[in-house]
C-alpha cells in the first residue's frame, strides 16, 4: 500500500508547494480564482468524505458550507468576534449540525437519503432567506465582513488570502490522505463494500457513518469561513441546491474517493466557468452536456481512485 500511494502523494505535495508561488506570477483576478479554487476544493473533498468514502448520498452538502459561512458572518459582523476566533465555531457548529441531521436520516436507503438531504437544503435556504432569528439578514445576506489577522498580521491582500486558503487546503489534503489509513477510513471502506460483513467484524455502522457525516460537514464548515472571508458577503444564493448538485457532480465526475479526481473535478466545474465568464448564458447548458458525456464515456469518473491493496 505504501509503495503504491507514496509517489502520487509526493508529486501532490510538490505540486501544492509549487502552487504556493502562484501569486508571484498571476494578476490579482487570477489569484482570486486560484483562492476560490482552494475553497471549493475543500468543500468538494468534504463532500467526498460523505459521498465517495461513506457512500452516503448527500445532495444537500452546501448546507454545511453555508453554516460555516453564516457562523463566521454572524459572529464577526453581529458580535464583533475576530475572524479566526469564528473558525473553530464554524467547524464544530457545522459538524454538530451534520451529526444531528444525519442521526435520524442515516438509516434511509440511498435514494431516500438523497431526497431527505435535498429537503434539508431547501429548508436551510428558506430559513436564511426569511431572516431566521433576525440574524441572517434575509435575501441580501450579511455584508461587510472583517479581515482575519494572524499574530497581528492583517490577512488583507488577495495574495495573503490566497496563502491562507492554500495552507488550509494543504491541511485538509493531509487529513484526507490520513483518512485512508486510520480506523475510521478503513471502517468506511469495509462498510461500503459489505455492510453486513463489516458489522459482523465489529464495525458500528451507524456510529461510523454519523462520524463520517460530521467530519464531512465540519470540513465544509471550515471552507465556509474561508468563503465568507474571500467574498466578504454571505448570502443564501451561495448555498442553494444547484451548489449541492455541483458538489455532488464534482465527486462523481472526478472519481469517488480519489483526491486527484476531486481536485480535477473542482477545477472543471468551478474554475473553467470563471474563465468563460462571457459565455455565462450557455454555461449550464454546456455543463449539462458535459456531465452526460463524461458519465457515458467514463462512468467511473475522470480520475478514478487507484485500487488500494487491502
Amino acid at each position: 500500500m505504501m509503495r503504491r500511494t507514496l509517489p502520487t502523494a509526493a508529486i501532490g505535495a510538490v505540486l501544492w508547494a509549487g502552487c504556493l508561488a502562484l501569486p508571484i506570477f498571476l494578476d490579482s483576478a487570477w489569484i482570486s480564482i486560484a483562492a476560490i479554487f482552494a475553497i471549493y476544493a475543500i468543500v468538494a473533498l468534504s463532500q467526498d468524505v460523505v459521498l465517495g468514502r461513506a457512500g452516503l448520498y448527500d445532495m444537500g452538502h452546501a448546507v454545511y458550507f453555508g453554516i460555516g459561512a453564516y457562523a463566521t458572518a454572524v459572529l464577526n459582523v453581529g458580535f464583533g468576534w475576530p475572524i479566526l476566533a469564528t473558525l473553530p465555531v464554524a467547524i464544530v457548529g457545522a459538524a454538530l449540525v451534520g451529526a444531528v441531521f444525519a442521526a435520524p436520516i442515516i438509516r434511509l436507503r440511498g435514494d431516500y437519503l438523497l431526497v431527505a438531504t435535498i429537503g434539508l437544503n431547501a429548508i436551510f435556504v428558506l430559513a436564511m432567506r426569511n431572516d431566521l432569528g433576525g440574524l441572517t439578514g434575509g435575501s441580501d445576506g450579511i455584508p461587510g465582513l472583517g479581515v482575519p489577522s494572524l499574530f497581528g498580521l492583517q490577512i488583507e491582500s488577495q495574495s495573503a488570502l490566497f496563502w491562507f486558503d492554500w495552507v488550509l487546503l494543504g491541511v485538509v489534503l493531509l487529513v484526507m490522505r490520513n483518512l485512508d489509513r486510520c480506523e475510521l477510513g478503513r471502517a468506511l471502506r469495509y462498510l461500503k463494500q459489505d455492510q453486513l460483513a463489516a458489522s459482523t467484524l465489529g464495525v458500528d455502522a451507524r456510529r461510523t457513518k454519523i462520524l463520517a457525516f460530521a467530519l464531512g460537514a465540519g470540513l465544509a464548515g471550515l471552507a465556509g469561513t474561508l468563503f465568507a472571508v474571500q467574498i466578504s458577503t454571505v448570502s443564501p444564493s451561495s448555498f442553494v441546491f444547484t451548489e449541492s448538485v455541483t458538489l455532488f457532480a464534482i465527486v462523481i465526475v472526478g472519481g469517488q474517493g480519489s483526491i486527484p479526481g476531486v481536485l480535477l473535478g473542482t477545477a472543471l466545474m468551478f474554475v473553467v466557468p470563471q474563465i468563460f465568464r462571457e459565455f455565462a448564458q450557455y454555461r449550464y447548458f454546456i455543463f449539462g452536456i458535459a456531465m452526460i458525456a463524461v458519465m457515458v464515456l467514463r462512468p467511473q469518473g475522470l480520475w478514478p481512485r487507484a485500487r488500494l491493496a487491502r
Binding site: 431526497v115 449550464y284 449539462g288 457515458v296
Partner: protein, 300 residues
C-alpha cells in the same frame, strides 16, 4: 364552509397536475431504479411547446378549444420523442454502471433541458394567452370552480384511470410490471425489456407534458426554472405515495395538492416549500418507503 370547499377544489386541481407528473417519476423509478431528475424539466418543456402553438397560431382565427387540443397533441408527441431520446442518449449506456453515474447524467440532462428552454424562449416569465377556453365559472356552496379547473380534474382522473387499466389489464402492462419486479426474469419470459423501458419513457413524459401544459393554462405563465419547482413537488408526491408504485403516485399527488392548498391558508407563503419538505422528511422517517410502498429501509 365555503373556504373549505374552495381549498379542496384548489387542492384537487393542483393535486391532479402533481399526480400526472409524479407518474413519470414513479414509472421510471419502478423499472430502472433511477430518479429521472430531468422529468420536471421535460414537463415544462411541454408547457413551452404548447405555449408556442397557442400564441403562434392565434392570429389565424382558429377557435380556442380546438387550438388548445392541438397544442396538447403537439406537446405530448414532442415530449414523448424527447423522453425516448433522453433515455437512449443519457441513461441506456449507463444501465450497468455505478448507480451514481446515472444520477449525475440525469442531473446533467436536467440542466441541459432547463437552460435549453432559457436559450430558446428567453429567461423572462412568458404569459399564456387568454380567451382560448371558456371563462365560465360555477358557484357551488360558496366556492367557485372555473372551466380550467374542471377540465384539469376530469382529464387527470381519466388519464390516471386509463393508465391504471393499461398497466393492470393488458399484456404490455403486465410486461411493464414484470420488468419492474425483476428484469432478468422478465427477459427469460420473452419480454423485450428494452421496449418496456422505452415505453416508460413515452408514457411518463406524455403524461408529464399534459401536466406541464395544465400548469401553464392554470397559472397562465411559464418560466424556465419552473421544472425544478413543480418537478420537485411532483417528485415529493411520488415518494409520499411510495416511489415505484403507480397508485401511490396518484394518491401522493392528490394528498400533496390538498396539503399545499390548506397549508397556504395558515402558513406564510415564504415558508410553504419548507413545510412541504418537512412533511416529506417526516413521512420518510415514519414510513421510509412511502404510504403504499413496500418496506425497504436499511437496517442500521
Amino acid at each position: 364552509m365555503g373556504t373549505f370547499i374552495q381549498q379542496v377544489i384548489n387542492g384537487l386541481t393542483v393535486g391532479g397536475i402533481y399526480a400526472l407528473i409524479a407518474l413519470g417519476y414513479t414509472m421510471v423509478y419502478g423499472v430502472l431504479r433511477l430518479i429521472n431528475f430531468a422529468h420536471g424539466d421535460l414537463c415544462i418543456l411541454g408547457a413551452f411547446v404548447g405555449l408556442t402553438m397557442l400564441s403562434g397560431a392565434l392570429g389565424g382565427g382558429h377557435p380556442g378549444p380546438a387550438l388548445v387540443l392541438l397544442a396538447f397533441v403537439v406537446a405530448v408527441i414532442a415530449i414523448s420523442v424527447a423522453g425516448v431520446a433522453l433515455e437512449f442518449v443519457a441513461y441506456r449506456p449507463l444501465r450497468k454502471a455505478d448507480r451514481l453515474a446515472a444520477v449525475v447524467s440525469a442531473l446533467g440532462a436536467s440542466m441541459l433541458i432547463e437552460n435549453g428552454i432559457m436559450l430558446i424562449w428567453g429567461p423572462e416569465v412568458r404569459v399564456f394567452p387568454s380567451g382560448l377556453l371558456p371563462a365560465t365559472t360555477w358557484h357551488v356552496a360558496g366556492a367557485s370552480i372555473s372551466f380550467v379547473e374542471v377540465m384539469i380534474i376530469i382529464v387527470s382522473v381519466v388519464l390516471m384511470a386509463a393508465l391504471y387499466g393499461f398497466v393492470n389489464h393488458t399484456r404490455f402492462g403486465t410486461a411493464i410490471r414484470a420488468a419492474a419486479i425483476d428484469q432478468d426474469a422478465a427477459r427469460l419470459m420473452g419480454i423485450n425489456v428494452n421496449r418496456v423501458i422505452s415505453s416508460v419513457f413515452v408514457i411518463g413524459p406524455a403524461l408529464g407534458a399534459v401536466g406541464g401544459l395544465f400548469i401553464g393554462l392554470y397559472y397562465r405563465e411559464a418560466y424556465f426554472t419552473m421544472g425544478w419547482t413543480y418537478g420537485l413537488n411532483a417528485f415529493i408526491a411520488a415518494i409520499i405515495g411510495g416511489i415505484g408504485n403507480i397508485p401511490g403516485a396518484m394518491l401522493g399527488g392528490v394528498l400533496l395538492g390538498l396539503f399545499n392548498a390548506f397549508a397556504a391558508g395558515y402558513v406564510s407563503s415564504s415558508w410553504q416549500n419548507a413545510i412541504t419538505f418537512a412533511l416529506l422528511i417526516a413521512i420518510l422517517l415514519i414510513r421510509p418507503s412511502g404510504l403504499l410502498g413496500e418496506r425497504v429501509a436499511e437496517k442500521v
